[in-house]
């Protein structure tokens, strides 16, 4: 665990969605054990950034290094095997697989049966509602439960770093609080490194070590969570003041 080299280093990342270039050269870093937020308005390119880092979207330029490996030209499954795993936004669970099967798919890259069973129990302890619903199809869960499933599923791969896309989107506020609490308390205690993409800037910055502000494909501001929460520009644009 070297403090010097960042776990994830993004330099001049350019990315397109279809024909349109969405990211025009994004630079950001995430160090081991940090929680870093990427905030910005709808359409700023936050989700595109994550899809690019997961190598699902094509990279047009720049360089991405993760854990000492250049992942710019890798395939999505190779990135997952290196331990960089995304929790996709909204309903990207498998709707007609059971909750348990969804979790098993999270462990797709692993072969250690006993370890997977142990991690399944750990996932159920993290979100007990998933244990009650384990035989139900994923699509029958509520929005908040689906989000919990998506987080638990990503953890099943034993990632080194999680990238979470809008965990608060379309979820009842009480569940948002619960999910953020879990992320902060449990995952941070485990030393999990997290890149968190959020529109809910207030909640995200409060639990983050550092943050970046993304505007129309460019990073316009960066600082610690506290600095950004106090920044007048952030307050005006994202905290509704």
């Amino acid at each position: 665990m070297s403090a010097a080299a960042p776990l994830l280093k993004v330099e001049g990342l350019k990315c397109a969605y279809g024909q349109a270039e969405i990211l025009h050269g994004v630079d950001l870093q995430v160090r081991q054990g940090e929680i870093v937020s990427l905030i910005g308005a709808n359409g700023a390119g936050k989700s595109t950034t994550l899809m690019c880092l997961s190598r699902v979207n094509r990279v047009r330029g720049g360089r991405v290094t993760f854990d000492g490996h250049d992942i710019t030209g890798m395939r999505p499954e190779q990135v997952v095997r290196l331990g960089l795993v995304q929790v996709p936004e909204g309903r990207r669970i498998f709707p007609r697989l059971t909750v348990r099967e969804n979790l098993e798919m999270g462990a797709f890259i692993r072969r250690d049966r006993d370890g997977i069973e142990a991690d399944l129990r750990r996932a159920y302890d993290l979100f007990p509602i998933l244990r009650d619903r384990s035989a139900q199809q994923g699509g029958t869960l509520s929005g908040g439960e689906q989000q919990m499933l998506a987080i638990a599923r990503a953890l099943m791969s034993r990632p080194k770093m999680l990238m979470m896309d809008e965990p608060s989107m379309g979820i009842a506020p009480i569940l948002v609080a619960k999910i953020f609490e879990t992320v902060r308390d449990v995952l941070r205690a485990q030393g999990m490194t997290i890149l968190l993409v959020e529109q809910n800037a207030n909640a995200a910055l409060r639990m983050s070590d550092r943050g970046y502000v993304l505007e129309t494909g460019n990073i316009v501001l960066t600082g610690t969570g506290q600095e950004l929460l106090g920044d007048p520009r952030v307050r005006a644009a994202y905290l509704g003041e």
Partner: protein
């Protein structure tokens, strides 16, 4: 349009072939009662239906995972039949009997399965995978192109100078497929008589369907196949190599088609380079009838189409059978486009 005319000719041949299999039922001076005729037609229909179902599974699996009607699938099965006949000829299998005969049939089944599976995988690799991000229409056109190539390969293959191809003089003519499995009755249940061929159909198709169900429901590959079908992007984010899972799906669907085509050839005793069109259409209609993308639906649809065909041959008239079957397709598309067991169709964005 040449193709349509040729197909019609083949349909007539195939239907005659089927009627031929039924003829013995009338041979015994009208001793069969109406009830017996009905039962006998039911057995024939169910046997052909199981074969159609096995081919329909190939359509429905591929549709389920990449939303493509793989129009080359029927023609792929046709080439499997040509391979089987070539092996029969090369090894002189028509003379084999007893244990050797059984071994021969097993050899044919597995050769055709591996061949069709491998060929289907290759077609995906060459004709469909490069178009994964293109529109569904491009994919469909590519499938039709693949179908034409396979039909022409079959036409060429049938012209090879082998005895089983009648010396290769007339490559387009239907070929006799030796009756390696006897058509004699071996079992009588009530008033229904089962030939060894009927039992062969069950002995091959039922275990394959059970095995496929186990594979799709319980194995890691099966779960990954369902995951890719439901959300390919999320599957990628789990570290699933989507192209590899799709390739495996093509292999499995093709292999089932290979098994089916050998059973079909043994059951109906005639093959032709155009048979893929007919088998493919029946199976495609079966898949749509059951609900495309739905595995139990493909089996149900296959059985229904098989029974409808034989009942129509018996009680309407053989030449109307295709009209009846296609009429069913139109009715489904108009009144229940999602099929009997299919979920509501949704447009993917």
């Amino acid at each position: 349009m040449l193709r349509a005319a040729a197909a019609a000719e083949n349909l007539a041949i195939a239907v005659l072939g089927q009627a031929g299999a039924v003829l013995p039922a009338f041979g015994a001076d009208g001793q069969l009662s109406g009830q017996e005729v009905f039962s006998q037609q039911l057995v024939t229909g169910l046997s052909n239906g199981m074969i159609i179902a096995l081919i329909a599974i190939g359509y429905t699996m591929v549709y389920g995972i990449i939303e493509l009607i793989n129009f080359a699938h029927g023609d792929l099965c046709m080439l499997g039949a040509f391979l089987a006949l070539t092996i029969v000829g090369a090894l002189g299998m028509a003379e084999w009997s007893g244990v050797g005969g059984v071994g021969g049939v097993v050899l044919l089944l597995f050769s055709a399965a591996v061949f069709c599976g491998g060929l289907n995988w290759s077609i995906d690799r060459l004709a469909y995978r490069p178009l994964r991000k293109a529109s569904k229409l491009s994919l469909l056109v590519s499938a039709i192109g693949a179908s034409f190539i396979l039909v022409n390969l079959g036409l060429f293959w049938g012209g090879l100078p082998m005895d089983v191809f009648a010396g290769g003089g007339s490559s387009a003519a239907p070929k006799d497929f030796p009756a390696l499995v006897s058509n004699r009755d071996v079992l009588t249940l009530g008033d229904v008589r089962w030939t060894l061929n009927d039992l062969l159909v069950l002995a091959v198709t039922v275990p394959l369907m059970v095995a496929l169900t186990v594979l799709v429901k319980f194995t890691k590959l099966g779960k990954a196949m369902r995951a890719v079908a439901q959300n390919p992007t999320a599957a990628q984010l789990m570290g699933i190599d989507v192209d590899r899972v799709i390739g495996s799906t093509f292999f499995i669907g093709g292999a089932l088609g290979g098994f089916a085509t050998v059973v079909y050839s043994l059951y109906n005793n005639t093959i032709s380079f155009q048979m893929g069109y007919r088998m493919g259409m029946d199976a495609f209609i079966a898949a749509v009838l059951g609900g495309i993308g739905n595995l139990p639906g493909a089996v149900l649809g296959g059985l229904l189409i098989g029974v409808v065909r034989s009942m129509s041959d018996q009680y309407v008239e053989a030449r109307w059978t295709n009209a009846v079957v296609f009429g069913i397709l139109i009715l489904i598309l108009v009144f229940r486009p999602s099929g009997l067991l299919g979920a509501k169709l949704r447009e993917k964005v």
